[in-house]
């Protein structure tokens, strides 16, 4: 609470943006004027009382699609990030604490995966496996967890060389205690900031895949896909594709503003 009061304006704006998005996502069915797939008018109608933001390429209400899209897109990105974080930090911590051949093995595998551009890797997997929600989540989580692994390992290595970890080892503590009680609490500030960054990355990544037509499949509403579906409108001077694109940008800016503040705090704590 104390932290919030001292937080800079930018972080507060970020927090409001994120909270707003979360509330919309959770209460989507209550807020949205129409359902996800209901056709309410003509193709690419202008903004009106009937549909606040106009209609999309099939005459569905853009506002409602946007609200349901928040739900699908944010939930998907959140689950993926969680998965990538759990696996990335666990492996990273184990590598840092155990060292030796385990560390070598993990790190070499991760090096190889990271030597491959993420988007290309994902495209290749999707081309072979086909695109489904499960495969999407697992693929992105796996690719993203390599970044989490790198960071978690680096942070844990910094903590691992501290004498208090040696004290725990000399006491005879097991791997679990060392990871859970000695390293994790000290790694938390860096990890929280990284979670924000990874979420942004995953969120943008999914949006990009959807934009390329390889993410969530229609008729499910998601923001990247909505940009793609309505892309043709732009040449007619209709700005409809800009709206879901702006929604994506809006949320990521919000998260990044919070992350920036967190990184600032974390670096300040060391000095």
């Amino acid at each position: 609470m104390n932290l919030l009061i001292k937080s800079p304006l930018s972080a507060r704006i970020g927090l409001c943006i994120v909270l707003f998005n979360i509330i919309v996502a959770i209460f989507a069915p209550l807020i949205a004027p129409y359902s996800e797939t209901e056709v309410v008018g003509d193709v690419w109608e202008q903004m009106s009382g009937n549909s606040l933001l106009g209609t999309d390429h099939l005459g569905r209400d853009l506002m409602s699609r946007l609200i349901f899209g928040a739900r699908n897109t944010i939930a998907l990105a959140f689950i993926t990030t969680m998965l990538s974080f759990l696996s990335g930090t666990t492996l990273g911590f184990v590598a840092a604490v155990k060292g030796g051949w385990i560390d070598n093995l993990f790190s070499r595998i991760i090096d190889i995966i990271m030597a491959f551009p993420t988007l290309i890797f994902a495209l290749m997997i999707l081309s072979v496996m086909g695109s489904s929600v499960m495969i999407l989540i697992v693929t992105i989580a796996m690719l993203d967890s390599t970044r989490v692994y790198r960071l978690a390992r680096a942070v844990a290595m910094d903590i691992e060389v501290m004498d208090f970890v040696e004290v725990a080892r000399l006491r005879g503590e097991g791997l679990w205690w060392i990871m859970r009680r000695e390293i994790l609490p000290n790694a938390m500030p860096s990890l929280v900031a990284e979670f924000g960054l990874r979420f942004c990355f995953v969120f943008l990544f999914i949006a990009s895949l959807s934009f390329l037509g390889l993410g969530l499949q229609p008729p499910l509403a998601d923001w990247g896909g909505m940009v793609r579906e309505n892309a043709g409108a732009i040449t007619f001077g209709i700005f409809i594709p800009l709206i879901p694109a702006a929604a994506i940008a809006f949320l990521t800016v919000g998260v990044n503003l919070i992350v920036d503040w967190f990184l600032h705090l974390a670096s300040g704590m060391h000095n």
Partner: protein, 320 residues
């Protein structure tokens, strides 16, 4: 300290090894398909003949290790096999598109590198001023935006409102260089926005890091002029991290190009890759994936080698 040439050879060796492993992964990826590849790709209703043709195209009748070897040696010789979708030579599909992609990437690099290094240095020297803060917020926003958002904003502004640049970046052999540049300017600007944001932030951080060193304080206490401190004391030591930042972001550029090509319907390798993925045209996906990966790995490798060369300690250990 080991001589720098040895370190470079080792890094190059590792890069080469990575490419080999990546090619193996790309190859095995197809092998690991659940069930029969042909059925999975063509669907259950495929006729016997199409399945046979498909198997032959992928050389499925050979044992895996032989097939890998054949695929790899063919690839090195420029024979990427035939497309499943239209039966044409993959190399014919890829060649000129790859050249287009390189053209776009180079145009972007020519704008983005000087711009971001300059902005990064200025932000570092005038840190915590209004200039620095404005730059910081702007780049943070650009990092947060998806590429297509920036692209559509540029299109809305420059193609729809003012009609200066085309929204479709169509280029071909017969165009003059100026005409080509005119065509790719919007996609190049889009990429520039994204890449500059990353590159500039990292450059700023690298230089601030150097400016905080004890030897900078020492130079100030020796009564050296500010400009000389920057040029003679800060610059040579920032060179290595900045070069690293630049090369890493060029690698990023290679990937960022995919989405921008789709937005602007630019006839490049990225566009082809995305099309082939949705058609599940595996030979094309394999070939273009490997080319992208190769370019990415080479740039990463160059980043490391250049920053080794620019590192004063490593450089000196060779001369003395």
């Amino acid at each position: 300290m080991k001589p720098v040439i040895w370190l470079i050879l080792r890094r190059a060796g590792f890069g080469f090894l990575t490419i080999i492993v990546i090619s193996l992964i790309i190859f095995i990826g197809v092998e690991l398909l659940p069930g029969d590849v042909a059925e999975a790709v063509l669907g259950q209703n495929a006729t016997q003949e199409t399945v046979e043709a498909f198997r032959k195209a992928l050389k499925l009748e050979l044992p895996p290790h032989v097939r890998y070897w054949v695929w790899l040696t063919d690839f090195v010789q420029g024979d990427f096999g035939r497309s499943l979708a239209n039966g044409r030579e993959v190399s014919g599909l890829i060649g000129w598109r790859f050249a287009n992609t390189l053209f776009l990437a180079l145009t972007t690099a020519a704008i983005a590198i000087p711009l971001s290094v300059m902005l990064g240095m200025m932000a570092a020297f005038y840190r915590n001023t209004l200039f620095d803060k404005v730059i910081s917020i702007t780049t943070l926003s650009f990092i947060s935006f998806p590429e297509f958002f920036i692209a559509y904003i540029l299109i809305t502004l420059f193609s729809v409102q003012f009609n200066i640049f085309p929204s479709m970046a169509n280029i071909n052999e017969s165009m003059t260089l100026v005409a080509k540049l005119h065509a790719v300017l919007l996609p190049a600007l889009t990429l520039t926005c994204v890449v500059t944001a990353h590159m500039m932030r990292q450059t700023r951080a690298a230089i601030i890091n150097v400016l905080a060193s004890a030897y900078i304080e020492m130079a100030e206490l020796k009564g050296i002029r500010r400009l000389r401190i920057i040029m003679r004391h800060a610059f040579p030591n920032s060179l290595s991290p900045v070069i690293n930042v630049v090369a890493l972001n060029l690698a990023y550029l290679i990937v960022g190009v995919v989405i921008v090509e789709v937005v602007f319907v630019y006839p490049g390798l990225g566009q082809l890759l995305v099309d082939s993925v949705s058609k599940r045209d595996i030979p094309v996906v394999q070939a273009s994936g490997l080319i992208f990966a190769g370019a990415y790995i080479s740039l990463n490798m160059m980043a490391d080698i250049l920053s080794m060369l620019a590192n004063p300690r490593l450089r000196q250990s060779q001369t003395s």
